[in-house]
Each structure stands twice: as structure tokens, then as C-alpha cells.
Symmetry: C3
Subunit: 313 residues, 3 copies
């Protein structure tokens, strides 16, 4: 039984990317594979691309889909062991996960980092609790620490646009008015560590990501130097990891424009704040791959669901 | 590629009405037409009839349906050109529309008037932005200015109940405690301008609808005179258009009762506030067509979706 | 046309339980029965098990399902007769029920007790109004007074686990921080009155359920005595019925632990507050049937929907 919690669950990234790309000419080819199987999508947080593309992927595979906004439609969950549940939580994840496993053949979960409790976030408490107590495969639709469906879509997009044997790929921090999680950046870094590339991370001092994830990566604090001769620039804001969840820098000098981008292709997971993260001129240019990335979310979700379904039979 | 943004998108109202009526004996007849096609319904506002009837119509055509409450489940959208997005909006409609076009074959949108910014409302900023940036057909599920699915259902209902070559049809304003949009009234007027009828609009002074829409219509401020010998009375509240979005009149003398109605049939789009808009005795009488109107919402949506699907193949 | 509003709508509980159990080996066997039929699920309150298991049951029967959160997605409903609707409610249940009947072949409704207006709650105002005005069957997904899908799932679970001709079954109150409705307890009692069993209800003084429901049942205020030699212990909190909707007792001596449980099987409808209603050691033991009960929710819903569908043809 295959879970998809992080990129570590992919046995061969190149193979999965290749298989995902091969779905595109005929997305309904495996419509019998998911017949009479139910995918339950549990949203603890908002979602546009993940919500729609995962439903689309499941329908392409012939699955029935049940969507639930856990916060507003269900019960507040408890995760602690031995808790006396006389406060806000009405149901323990032990029961919820076991119960939902009886109604769904695969459970997708979106649960962002709190950005207030580093230890709890790093323990992936929601995702890991569901994995521990559910009896069916779990699909990570963005968790505290990672967004592996996005990273897989990014890998597909890179494969479709790359022409070099060792392209230069830069992950650049950019400013944002609110505190954002590290999940997308983390999973992109993990994906890059499985790719042949000249990979550089750039961000202001104090914005270092977890060393457990970036270990071995080149970090260049001078954005201009980092961007030199880049083939792909992946831009993303994240809040401080050291000063956990804080916004300590809103320096608009980090915003990406065409001059900074040079000849590189521009990537971002969306939603993106125009003229804060990146200038209009970039998003509206042919160098932007953001719409292709979003399209590849369907095929990333579909290849993952296909692998999971195959692991069940 | 056919959009359905307003009644202007109907090439022949009588033909569409006729075709919609012909769907009724066998609503599933065209179930293969929508096979493997996805309808995405984006709700920026609450909905009962539109939500259910549009889903039902799509399922009758064999489509897959994805429903999303954009406000609570997605990201706040930005519509301005060149905006520095460092405030509340997380995503620009340029990205949202392009991205959703990749997951859905048709996009339905419900986005009410703000009733605070007349210019923005009249520009149909949400609907027109999606039309501009999406690459798939857009379906208007009630916008700032119009509700053409309702008007088409009303045309079907009139056709089913009318026995005269030139019936007298009255659109009458009625009081309401809260400020309501002009969309339903506007689309009804537009529809009437495509029908053979003796059409009269009646409302208190100061409640004139946009002249761009009512141009050429008879306006009679004396409700009693307007209702004389009417065959159909369509009742609806709207807030002031001149004093934009304000409730300047709650005169219960405008409430419709059986005496005022005479022999006419009563129409309303629902939801209707009983004994404010109209007396119980009218709604509970055989002269009320409101339930038929709501039923015809399914066939209005179905003929529109059928026409759009045919325009795609 | 069969409604499922309470256990009274079951002609033979043993037969329904038997038929529900027979669905388990092949849940998709009757997938043609619901073909081209639409189930509309209207949620006025939160739900996890009911939401997912009823959708699952409907999909097992081949039905299309439309889910709507009435509170947040639709309009506030009015139930009074002759009301001048100039306050918060936008739509009368008379219109809503008739309209939805035109889009859905069966309407499921979840509407909890207010716990503030005993008379209104006891009149089952939401459920009975829909039954009165709708033209299609109504399915109770937990109402003010009852939760008959839960009770039917409980009957299935008892049948699967009972080995005696007349088991001792105890319904025990347990403490809870917030005021809860009486629906689950009521329906369990009603179900027990249709079963061969030595049935005892235990709760603190002042927590008597409605005599209209418990009439003829043994009530034992000493929990220890009540639990002696029990085969099944069904635990549930409810707020005071006499002092309507009030929490007048939070005595943790009523919490169930393994010592109190003895050799009995433990039952609860979920969600359950661990270490408030019941100790971890019970839920985590093999004596707990709560996960089986939740699983049987699918088959309870499926047999009810199957009976209703058969009543339509």
C-alpha cells in the first residue's frame, strides 16, 4: 500500500515524470482503474488548484470523489495522546482516520503549518496521525512541511521545458505581506536534490530554510549573483524559519522583474501576488511557466493516484 | 465557442425556449454529449436554485461537476491592472481564469453586484474578467447586471402558460427590508424586449432601472393602473439605481395581493419574502407560477449547457 | 412513497437489519437501482460520518449526489405560517421544499435541535416542514428528536455482535462539557423497544429523557448497578430534558472505564470525547464497537435509500 506523503515516496522521479507526461494525450485512458473507488479529500485549509486538479485527476481515473471542508463542515480534531478532551476538540484523529478509511479508498489531506508551533509543524501532526491511524493510503495535498504534488508538477514542467543536461535552477525568496509556510519551498528543494542541475537557493540572511532539507545545497545571499545565467528561476515567499513564522523582511528589492530574470524561465506555484512577488511584465511574458505548472498539477495528481490505485490491487 | 453572459448570447429566443421545452419529456436524452466534460461552478455568493438546477442540468447531460465556494474555499481575487497586490487579494483573476480553464471545460460564475460601486458593477468586472482571461466558455449564474438563466427560465414559463398573441405583462417593484441587486429585473426586461407583449414596468419614482436596459419600455408609476388587465405580473424588489444601492422606499402599499393581481398569473424568481413582496394568498393560489419557474431553471441551464457543449465540438 | 423520518418508518427492524447485512459482501450489487436518480443532502449542521456514509451509500446505489450546506451556501429559511418576512429569513420552507423536490428524487436533511425552544424542537419543525411541503421522500440525517440512521446502524452492529437470545443492553449517560441534543439517545431507545433485550437506562437524576420515548423502560439511577452483567453498554451524553438544553451535571464519576464496562461491548455513535465520555483504555480495546458502528452507517443509509428508491418505482 503506497502513501504519498513526500517525495521520498517516489521510487524513481524520472520514471514518474515520464509516466505523468504520457497521460496527457489521453487522460481518460485508465478510467477503469478507479471504478467503484472513492477518493475522500479533506481540506483543513483553503485551496484552488489542489482542490480542482485533484478532483479532475480522480475523475480522469473514474473515481468517485467526496470533498469535505473539515474545519467548517466537520468536527475539530484532537491529536494528543491521553488528552482529557473537555476543551474545543470534539473528535480524536484516531476515530476520524479509522472511520473515514471505511468510506474512502484513498484519503487526501490538506493541512497547513500553524507557523506558531515549530515542533508540532515539523512533526507533521495531522498528516502523520492520519497515516498512523487510517487503514487506507494517504495523499498529501500540502502539509506543514511539504507540498509534494506541487513539486512533482514542477518536475514535469521542468522536464517539458529543459533543453540542457545540467540547467541552472535558482530558488529565490521574494517578499510577501503575510507569513507563509515553508512547504512549497521545502518540496521544491527536495525535488531538486533528485535532479541533475546546478541548483542555487537565494534569500535574505535570516531566511534560511531547515538545514535538514537544504543540506548540501548552495546558498547565495546575493540575489543578483544567484540569478546570473539562470535557466529557471523558481520564486516563492516563505516566512522566517529561524524566527519561526515571523515576517522579518519585506524588502521589495527581492521582487523579480524581467531584468533580473534575464533569459530564464519563471516558475511559481500560485497563487502569486503580482508586483509584490513578481512584476506583471514577467507573468505576462512568454518566459512564465506558471500556467503550465498549474496544468501539470492534474497529471501529477493523476500519476500519484494511479500508482496508489495500482498498489491496492 | 459560445459564452452565456447575457440574453444577447441567444441567437433566437423562441428557438431556445422551444428546444428547452422539448428536453422535458426525456431530460437524459443527451447524456452522451457531456461525457468526460467537466463543469466548474464558482460561487462568490449564496445560491439555492442556481446551485442545484445547474448541477442537475449538467448531470442530465452526463457532465462531471466541480462546485467551489470561491469566497470561503479559495483565495480572494484581484481584478485591477497593474495593482501592487500587497493588500487582501492573494491571486489575480488573470491566473485564476487561465488555471481553472485547464481543469474545466465550462466555467459557471455567480458574482453579485457590490451595490456600492456602480461603475465597477456595471463593468461586470468578475464575469468580464473571467471571459477575458479564461480559454473556455463562461456561464453567467447571476452577475452584477444580469441573471440570464433566470430570464430564460421565465421565458420558458411564459411560453408554457401564455394563451394570447400579445399578452399584457407587468414588471412590478415590491418592497424589501434589504438592498437587492438589479440583475433579475434587468434580465427580465431584456427578455421582454425580445418577446411580443404589451409590457409595462411599474415602480415608485426614484426606482427607475438603467435606461440602457429599459430604453423604449413603458413605465407607469401608478401600480394600480399598470396592473389593469394584466395577464402576467412579475414581481421583484430592487434597490435604487439612481441613489445606487440604497433602500429609499419600503412602502408596503406596493406589496402584491390577490385583489391587485386580478386574473393575472404571478411570477417571481425566488427566494421571496412572504407578506412583504407578496401575500400568502397569492403564492398559495393556482395563479402563482413560481414553482414552475424554478423547475424551468433546470431546462434553461440544460439548453444553455447543451448549446455551449455543441459549440465546443 | 416511503419517508425515513424515524424508526416508525421501518416495517420490520429484523428484516431491514438482515437486508443491510446482506449488502456488505457486494455493496455495488444494486448500482442500477439509483441510476439517473439524484439525492440532495441538505446540511443545516456539521457532520462527518453522516455526510460521508450517506454519500457513499448513494454512490453504491448509482445515484448522483448533490451536497449543500444550507446555512452558509443557501438562504435562511422561515417556517412560520403567515409570517411577515421582513426580518432575517429570506425564503419560506414552502417554496424551498417544493423547489428542491423538482431537482432531487430524495432529500436528506440534517437539522439539530436548538436546545433553546423545546416545543419547536419537539415539533421537528425543519424535518416535518420539508415532509409537508416536499413532493419527494425525506431522509432524516439527524433531526431535533431523532437520529434513525444511527439507530439502524446500531441495530446492525448489535445483530453482528450479539450471541444471546436476550442480551442485557445498557444506555448510560456520560458527562460532556457542552450541551448536546437528545436525538441519538432517543432513537437508540426507540430501537431497543423493537428488540428482544433486557434494556436498562442509567443517568443522573434530572437527566430523564422524554417519557414519550422511554415509557415502559427500566431506569436505574445507580450506574454501577445498571452496568452489572451487561453485554452491551451504549454510552452517550445528552443535556437535561427537564431543564431543557442545560448542562446541570458534569460529574466525571459517570465516565466509562474498563472496570465499569466489565465484559460488555462498548458502543458510541461518535464523535466521542476521549477521557471525558470514556477512557482511552476502552476505546483502544477489542471491546469497543465504535468503528464497526461507523462502518454500518454506510449500510444503514444504503438499505434505507434502497427501500425508498424501491418505493418510487
Amino acid at each position: 500500500m503506497l502513501h504519498y506523503l513526500s517525495l521520498k515516496d517516489i521510487d524513481s522521479l524520472p520514471n514518474w515524470v515520464q509516466e505523468a507526461r504520457s497521460l496527457k494525450p489521453n487522460p481518460k485512458l485508465y478510467k477503469d482503474l478507479g471504478k467503484d473507488k472513492t477518493l475522500g479529500l479533506l481540506f483543513f485549509n483553503n485551496s484552488l488548484r489542489t482542490r480542482l486538479s485533484t478532483q479532475k485527476a480522480a475523475m480522469n481515473l473514474g473515481m468517485d470523489v467526496i470533498v469535505m471542508n473539515f474545519g467548517s463542515e466537520g468536527w475539530a480534531l484532537e491529536y494528543g495522546d491521553g488528552t482529557i478532551m473537555d476543551q474545543g476538540s470534539s473528535e480524536h484523529v484516531k476515530e476520524a482516520a479509522l472511520v473515514i478509511s471505511q468510506y474512502c479508498d484513498i484519503i487526501g489531506i490538506r493541512a497547513f503549518a500553524s507557523l506558531t508551533n515549530k515542533e508540532e509543524d515539523e512533526s507533521e501532526i495531522v498528516l502523520e496521525s492520519f497515516k498512523k491511524y487510517a487503514t487506507v493510503p494517504i495523499l498529501n495535498m500540502e502539509s506543514s512541511v511539504g507540498h509534494p504534488l506541487q513539486a512533482l508538477a514542477d518536475a514535469i514542467t521542468l522536464a517539458e521545458n529543459n533543453t540542457k543536461s545540467k540547467p541552472k535552477i535558482v530558488l529565490s525568496w521574494a517578499p510577501h505581506p503575510r507569513a507563509l509556510p515553508h512547504a512549497v519551498a521545502n518540496s521544491f528543494v527536495e525535488m531538486m536534490q533528485r535532479q541533475e542541475a546546478d541548483f542555487v537557493i537565494t534569500h535574505p540572511k535570516g531566511y534560511e530554510l531547515s538545514e535538514k532539507i537544504t543540506g548540501g545545497c548552495t546558498i547565495e545571499y546575493d540575489q543578483k549573483k544567484a540569478l546570473e545565467d539562470a535557466d529557471f528561476v523558481y520564486v516563492k515567499n516563505w516566512s522566517s524559519y529561524r524566527d519561526y513564522g515571523k515576517v522579518t523582511n519585506k524588502d521589495t528589492n527581492w521582487t523579480i522583474d524581467l531584468k533580473k530574470l534575464g533569459q530564464a524561465k519563471f516558475m511559481h506555484c500560485l497563487p502569486v501576488r503580482r508586483n509584490v512577488i513578481v512584476a506583471d511584465e514577467v507573468l505576462d511574458s512568454a518566459q512564465s511557466l506558471v500556467i503550465e505548472q498549474a496544468n501539470n498539477r492534474t497529471y501529477a495528481a493523476q500519476i500519484v493516484l494511479k500508482k496508489i490505485l495500482e498498489s491496492l490491487s
